[in-house]
């Protein structure tokens, strides 16, 4: 079965191969609802909004929030500050990490229920396992950043996580924390393939904020590959990226 819903402000698609039983997917959609209620900066009654309004003491943060904050701090250190959930105005916005973290947990949910062949796609961050309904490796297309109807690359993640960071309007969560008023324009799309979608997501966000240096950062990161597209339509890929451009 396959179903798409709008959740966390983005299209979420879940496909479970070999069954029309919607229960496992239901569980995942329910989980994402809970994640949104806690982490949405657009909801005034979410936990993150309450924290940003100064209404919650740190010792009262939920376990999930503590976990996300700890991951954010770890990522900040590993990326020399290029990943930072603290906005220039001092508020916290962990959405650059929550998406991958939530998909990772949702995938674990499915595996716990014995699902072996599935994919979860939340806003273009994808975790897949096993094979599709035709029995072949899952295929993920990289969207053309200049035309949403087109695909410019086909990858076979082979169980790895895929995350794409793209050019955002200034004021959204992707900017260079070292120079928050500069508009990052040169790289318009950066797709990272990592050991799982959480890893791919947190490094995609950071590497995108590095601009042109981001692809070199991923090149030096063992276990990660990336495909960056610049505003002239030239793509740069890491040296091991082609491992994911063919099926097994």
């Amino acid at each position: 079965m396959r179903e798409t819903r709008i959740q966390m402000g983005m299209p979420v698609t879940i496909e479970v191969v070999g069954t029309e039983d919607a229960a496992p997917a239901q569980a995942v959609f329910g989980y994402f609802d809970a994640v949104d209620r806690r982490f949405s900066t657009y909801k005034s009654d979410s936990e993150i909004s309450a924290i940003n309004a100064g209404r919650v003491r740190p010792e009262a943060y939920s376990l999930a929030m503590q976990e996300v904050f700890a991951l954010a701090e770890q990522t900040r250190r590993e990326t020399d500050g290029f990943f930072d959930i603290r906005r220039p105005d001092g508020t916290l916005d962990p959405s650059g990490l929550v998406k991958g973290w939530a998909i990772q947990n949702a995938a674990a949910l499915l595996i716990e229920r014995g699902v072996e062949n599935f994919f979860i796609d939340a806003g273009g961050d994808i975790q897949s396992a096993g094979r599709n309904s035709d029995g072949i490796d899952w295929r993920v297309g990289i969207r053309n950043p200049f035309d949403a109807e087109e695909i410019v690359k086909i990858v076979f993640p082979l169980g790895h996580g895929v995350a794409t960071s793209g050019s955002y309007v200034r004021g959204d969560h992707i900017y260079d924390p070292h120079a928050p008023h500069e508009v990052l324009e040169t790289i318009v799309s950066l797709t990272v393939i990592g050991p799982n979608v959480l890893e791919a997501d947190r490094f995609a966000t950071a590497a995108f904020a590095m601009g042109q240096a981001g692809i070199a950062f991923i090149e030096h990161l063992p276990g990660f590959e990336a495909y960056a597209i610049d505003r002239a339509g030239i793509a740069t890929r890491t040296s091991g990226f082609d491992r994911f451009t063919r099926p097994t």
Binding site: E67, L109, I126, R143, V152, S189, I234, A235, P247
Partner: protein, 198 residues
């Protein structure tokens, strides 16, 4: 004559890489491909950042089967040309070496430079010219058998490969990607949904 000039340009480029100090190259020393210098970030520590092992609260995903054997490419990736967005003008290159490649004067093809002694070992690159422009530089050989050269390679010699993006026509199961309007899309959708709930 042009083929020789291109080989010389590529040798000069590989020489520039090999003779650099360990660490960052000055931007003007780097050859420019497609008008953009390949600049590497300063990386803390010689071996780069440590990738941590993340243990999520829920059960971790099983490791994917890591078969890195060579497989025959069966996926057909089309090479249909796509309309290109307006190119930004190429900046004036600091070195003359690759400027000609950007003016579309070269003959299309794949050109291998000779293996050049770079003091720490041999460096050999392969350049691809398409539509009269240098679109790809691949490093075929680089010094790897000595500790010193490995450290330099880690930070200086790029193995990054470039290509012009091309529309693909094959079937996919899912699509990953942000569009230039994705932030606006999210914001608009959030507000619409809020209205729908009112």
């Amino acid at each position: 004559m042009r083929k020789i000039a291109l080989s010389l340009a590529v040798i000069a480029a590989s020489g520039a890489y090999a003779w650099s100090e360990a660490g960052r190259l000055a931007a003007e020393d780097l050859p420019k491909i497609g008008g953009q210098a390949l600049v590497l970030p300063a990386i803390s520590g010689e071996s780069g950042p440590v990738v941590p092992v993340i243990a999520p609260v829920a059960a971790p995903l099983p490791c994917p089967a890591t078969d890195v054997g060579i497989v025959v490419a069966t996926a057909q990736q089309s090479t249909a040309p796509m309309p290109r967005p307006a190119r930004t003008p190429a900046p004036a290159p600091a070195r003359v070496t690759l400027a000609a490649a950007q003016q579309g004067q070269y003959v299309d093809g794949v050109y291998k430079g000779p293996a050049v002694d770079a003091h720490y070992g041999l460096v050999q690159v392969q350049a691809t010219v398409q539509g009269g422009q240098l679109v790809n530089v691949e490093v075929l050989q680089y010094p790897s058998h000595r500790r010193t050269s490995r450290r330099i390679n880690g930070s200086a010699l790029p193995k990054l490969v470039k290509e012009a993006i091309r529309v693909q026509s094959g079937q996919v199961d899912a699509i990953s990607g942000a569009t230039l309007t994705s932030a606006a899309y999210r914001r608009s959708l959030s507000i619409a949904l809020a209205k729908a709930n009112a």
